[in-house]
């Protein structure tokens, strides 16, 4: 059976922490795995990073493009707009 998982790996730092928390809030099926200096988040089929959730956590405007500053790697088809970045695989 084909692997349907998508993942995103972020640096584990002060800036990425609220993003990770937002991903945990918005993706109930995501599994968060802490490695030294890195956090890898796997999710089956779809994973979303929402601007609104992150902004709520950091208390200022946040551009989803800021994600790339702390991004290590990702897998899946990327679909991004002003409000969210979505990783998906399959249909």
């Amino acid at each position: 059976m084909a692997n349907n998982n998508v993942f995103i790996a972020l640096q584990n730092n002060e800036e990425a922490r609220p993003i990770i928390e937002a991903i945990e809030q918005d993706n109930s099926e995501a599994r968060v795995e802490y490695a030294p200096a890195m956090v890898k988040i796997d999710a089956p089929g779809r994973l979303v990073v929402r601007r609104e959730t992150v902004e709520g956590l950091i208390g200022r405007d946040w551009d989803p493009q800021e994600l790339h500053i702390n991004l290590i790697s990702l897998s899946g088809n990327v679909d991004e707009d002003d409000d969210e970045i979505v990783l998906r695989r399959g249909n």
Partner: protein, 333 residues
């Protein structure tokens, strides 16, 4: 030959300070804001009561009629601690400096007709004295308030007001060609011109308001909630008709600042009102009283620009402020 790179994961013994962990309910990494805010103010071992106020401890919750179970519930939605606050303001100042330099370099003020310049000077420059009062009032809140959550934000708000007063002075200096004549006239108007006396009396009454939370409602919500939209939206809009965007470029910081800081004011009121019905009733009573006073005090100032329409303009601003109180803070005014 194969090289095997081994990694060892070292789990830190603690992720944050104990007091922060207690408040979060678990030892997990906390944001800098939470670490730089929670429990910074001492609350035990004061030894003696201050000689200047023997009825209270040095830090005392009884200095206001508002009661809170936890005074650290007043989180700042902007999450400002000293670091983030200074970084934000320094970025804004760079933009403002560029705007001022641009207006000077292109001599944009020469294109503004004299009537508009006089109006701008007559309204903006005396207001720097009111801004200074806002600075003192928020320093009072910082000094006599309880809990770092609200007192640190109040001290930032106070310094912001000093910045606003300085920008207003600079606008005056740009309008009078660096002779400081406008500043002298502004002070004269503040002290003697009939249009400014109700506002001056209001700010002087605020300077001697004892209850720091009442002062918060009066200054940061009622007076600022009417004065800032009046100056930087309504009057600015009226000046744009003949001054173009020149004056707006010089007051843009105030505009942006007001939008940002109202979020903090609204969230503080919402937290206090949500704590108990007694708090809510007290806040509503204060807000009604001080909005009334502020509206009366600002009407003659508005009349400098709007003439006989001033009443209508102030009534609209009151309406907007009442809606804001209902929507953002849950207060029925």
């Amino acid at each position: 030959m194969t090289i095997e790179i081994k990694t060892t994961s070292i789990e830190p013994l603690r992720h944050t300070f104990d007091n922060v962990a207690r408040r979060l309910g678990a030892d997990k990494p906390a944001s800098r804001y939470l670490e730089a805010m929670f429990d910074l103010q001492p609350d035990v071992n004061f030894h003696y009561r201050p000689l200047w106020d023997p009825d209270h401890e040095l830090y005392d919750t009884d200095r206001t009629a508002i009661n809170m179970e936890d005074w650290y519930a007043f989180r700042d939605p902007r999450q400002f601690y000293y670091g983030t606050w200074t970084i934000t303001r320094s970025k804004q100042q760079e933009v403002a400096e560029r705007n001022y330099a641009f207006v000077e370099k292109k001599n944009l003020l020469d294109l503004v007709d004299d009537a508009a310049k006089q109006k701008a000077e007559a309204v903006l420059v005396p207001f720097r004295h009111a801004e200074y009062a806002a600075n003192l009032n928020n320093m009072y809140i910082c000094a006599y308030g309880y809990g770092t959550a609200i007192t640190q934000a109040a001290s930032f708000y106070a310094i912001d007001r000093l910045g606003v007063a300085q920008y207003l002075s600079r606008i005056g200096l740009m309008l009078d060609g660096n002779t400081s004549e406008s500043l002298d006239n502004g002070k004269q108007a503040w002290l003697e011109n009939d249009a400014w006396q109700p506002l001056r009396q209001l700010t002087e009454d605020l300077l001697v308001t004892k209850d720091w939370f009442e002062l918060y409602v009066a200054q940061n919500f009622a007076l600022d909630g009417l004065a800032h939209p009046l100056l930087y939206e309504r009057i600015d809009g009226a000046l744009q008709k003949s001054a173009g965007s020149t004056i707006s470029m010089l007051t843009e910081f105030m505009n942006e600042w007001y939008g940002e800081s109202s979020r903090w004011v609204d969230s503080t009121l919402k937290t206090a009102a949500g704590e108990s019905d007694a708090n809510k009733a007290q806040l509503e009573q204060w807000a009604r009283h001080w909005i009334d006073r502020a509206a009366k005090a600002l009407t003659p100032v508005a009349a400098e620009v709007f003439g006989s329409d001033a009443q209508g303009v102030i009534a609209e601003l009151r309406e907007e402020l009442t809606t804001r109180a209902k929507k953002k803070a849950g207060l029925d005014l």
